[in-house]
């Protein structure tokens, strides 16, 4: 106990005395550890977040393309639809006996960088996320009129909107659009509570509203009335098509029957996917890339540790005298060995722990950016099991690698004795 206490106290003081080189070594190892943990963290966060985004939906229906593509654009607002579902087809699916509820999704417009989604009341009644949680309103309520809008929490927060505000929707999904639907402004009637899903970054309007801005309805006398209930103009503003729809079934037993019916639908090429199955396909698709990233970050950690090894080895030359002084006071050559080992372990442990701290702070900082660009929410939670494993592994590997300079110091101090020969 006593010997190891001296060992670590000497090692720590010696490292502090060389704070520049020690600091740089810590920095390089810390960065590499942060990278490794970050890659893993983003990987698992992406999975849980994607999994949490949609819950309770049995099928997602869209134009026939790739299942992953359909899932990405309909639920995660990533990428664009290649084609639409005709309104008649949607009505037919909706009226099937197996179907309990549907949520229509009509995409393609935006408001200041946030996507606009046309839908109906079914969305607020049936959409579930994070294992069955329903959408809640932080302020206001569901849209009633053609030109009403309900905002996601992020939209309201980052643009500073409140209920009652008037907003203009643009065509396309760019940040800056040259085609504004300014003939029909929308009025904010509700703001949703935060969900940690792409819902937070969506502007929800009625299907009739979407249709209205794409037609010349705004110039009709009807549009000049101050309040036009969406139901009242249902026929007038009936859309030709929607982008996709989410389907809930009466019973999950009917799932494959309905899926087959939709996939074989003759009137137009449609596709129905089971969200969980398609997510699984997505993970398989990403698996190889994830593994490659993980391998690269492990190699970066290895490079960081080799850098530390180099620093320790080069420091030996100037520290032979110090070793001889310690030997003269009765320190065994084994203590000299242990001193180098202790230094490496201290460096690596400090570096790995700072790496963990850095990565969690970085994730906290990157959260809005990741949510905006990749549609998932980073939980910068408390360090988990993987973090501990990485810290232990890096420290252990450093100790193992440090046996090289430690062994060299051991041999040198045995040969040097009390006088350093050069």
């Amino acid at each position: 106990m006593r010997a190891s206490a001296i060992l670590f106290s000497l090692a720590a003081k010696s490292l502090l005395n060389r704070r520049l080189t020690a600091g740089l070594t810590v920095l390089s190892v810390a960065v590499s550890v942060a990278l490794l943990i970050g890659v893993d963290r983003v990987r698992t966060e992406a999975r849980t977040s994607f999994t949490n985004t949609i819950s309770g939906a049995d099928l997602i229906v869209g134009a026939r393309s790739g299942p992953v593509n359909l899932l990405l654009y309909s639920v995660f607002r990533i990428g664009d639809a290649t084609n639409n579902i005709g309104w008649e087809s949607y009505q037919e699916i909706r009226s099937r006996p197996e179907v309990a509820w549907t949520i229509p999704i009509s995409l393609g417009d935006s408001h200041r960088g946030f996507r606009v989604m046309g839908t109906d009341d079914g969305y607020f009644a049936h959409y579930r996320f994070a294992r069955g949680r329903a959408l809640e309103f932080a302020d206001g309520g569901v849209f009633m009129n053609v030109n009403d809008a309900v905002l996601g929490a992020d939209v309201a927060e980052s643009l500073g909107y409140a209920v009652g505000e008037s907003i203009i929707v643009s065509h396309g999904i760019g940040d800056v659009s040259f085609e504004n639907h300014d003939e029909l402004p929308f009025k904010v009637t509700g703001i949703l509570a935060r969900t940690g899903t792409p819902v937070d970054r969506t502007v929800h309007v009625t299907l009739a509203g979407i249709e209205a801005i794409h037609s010349d309805w705004a110039t009709t006398p009807r549009a000049r009335e101050s309040v036009v209930a969406a139901e009242a103009v249902e026929e007038e503003l009936k859309p030709d098509a929607i982008t996709a729809c989410i389907v809930g079934l009466e019973s999950r037993l009917m799932l494959f029957g309905l899926q087959r019916f939709i996939n074989d639908y003759a009137a137009e090429p449609l596709m129905a996917i089971v969200p969980g199955v398609t997510l699984q396909q997505l993970w398989e698709l990403l698996g190889a890339a994830e593994a490659a990233l993980l391998v690269v970050s492990i190699l970066v950690v290895a490079a960081g540790l080799v850098g530390m090894l180099t620093t320790l080895l080069t420091s030996l030359a100037e520290r032979r005298r110090e070793m001889a002084v310690l030997r003269s006071m009765g320190a065994g050559a084994r203590l000299v060995f242990g001193l180098l080992l202790a230094e490496a372990v201290l460096l690596a442990a400090v570096a790995a722990l700072s790496g963990v701290v850095v990565v969690h702070l970085a994730m906290l900082a990157a959260r809005p950016l990741v949510l905006a660009n990749f549609g998932f929410y980073l939980h910068a939670g408390l360090p988990g099991g993987f973090d501990l494993i990485v810290v232990a592994a890096v420290t252990g590997a450093a100790g193992l690698l440090a046996t090289v300079p430690a062994w060299r110091a051991f041999r040198l101090s045995l040969a040097d004795g009390l006088t350093v020969r050069t």
């Binding site: 010696s14 002084v325 030997r327 009765g330 320190a331 004795g417 006088t419």
Partner: protein, 242 residues
Amino acid sequence: MATPDPPAFRLAQVEFAYGGGAPVVDIPELEVAQGERLFVEGPSGSGKSTLLCLVAGILTPTSGTVDVLGEPVSALGAAARDRLRAEKIGFVFQMFNLLPYLSLVDNVVLPCHFSRTRAAVALENSASLTDEADRLLDRLGLGGNALRGRRVTELSIGQQQRVAVARALIGRPPLVVADEPTSAMDATARLAFVELLLEECALAGSTVVFVSHDPSLATSFERAVSMAEINAAPQEGMADAR
């Protein structure tokens, strides 16, 4: 009760050669009584450093025996030799005696971390190890907070050597070995340093072995030998360098 004190150290028929080469040290007999103050004179390459390593148990003789305070160093294992060195011997080297990353006081206290006996003896004098280090530094003319707060690398050579003496003397080891401690000093400082060292060692009751190439320092010691007298191995300029 009547057993006489064992000699501070004793070498008998000691030969040492590096890696099977010609012996660099061949000392038929060298005995130093406890309390004695011995001056060993010899140019570099005369085997002085090897002699000190043999006494300190850092090297073991190729043949012959080395005893330190009655213990057969040459027959002990490496760990036991390290322990003996920690308990019994204080060292002062030519230069770079101090660990640059420790404070003055921490440098002085350091031997007590390797030896329980020296720590216990130091605590007989003072309430704590740092108090004892302070006391020794004061006695060696290194009092005052201004000096105490400095980094050891900011001290002059003479000051560094006095810190080294304090470190060698903490816990009163029975044997103090000084290896060319004055070679970096000018003549007056040299003499003053030797006097101070001898005075403090006398106070601590330690035996002193002082090795130097400078025979003019011999006058301060009660006994002086030269390597040429005691070492029968052929002496060349580079004989003890490998």
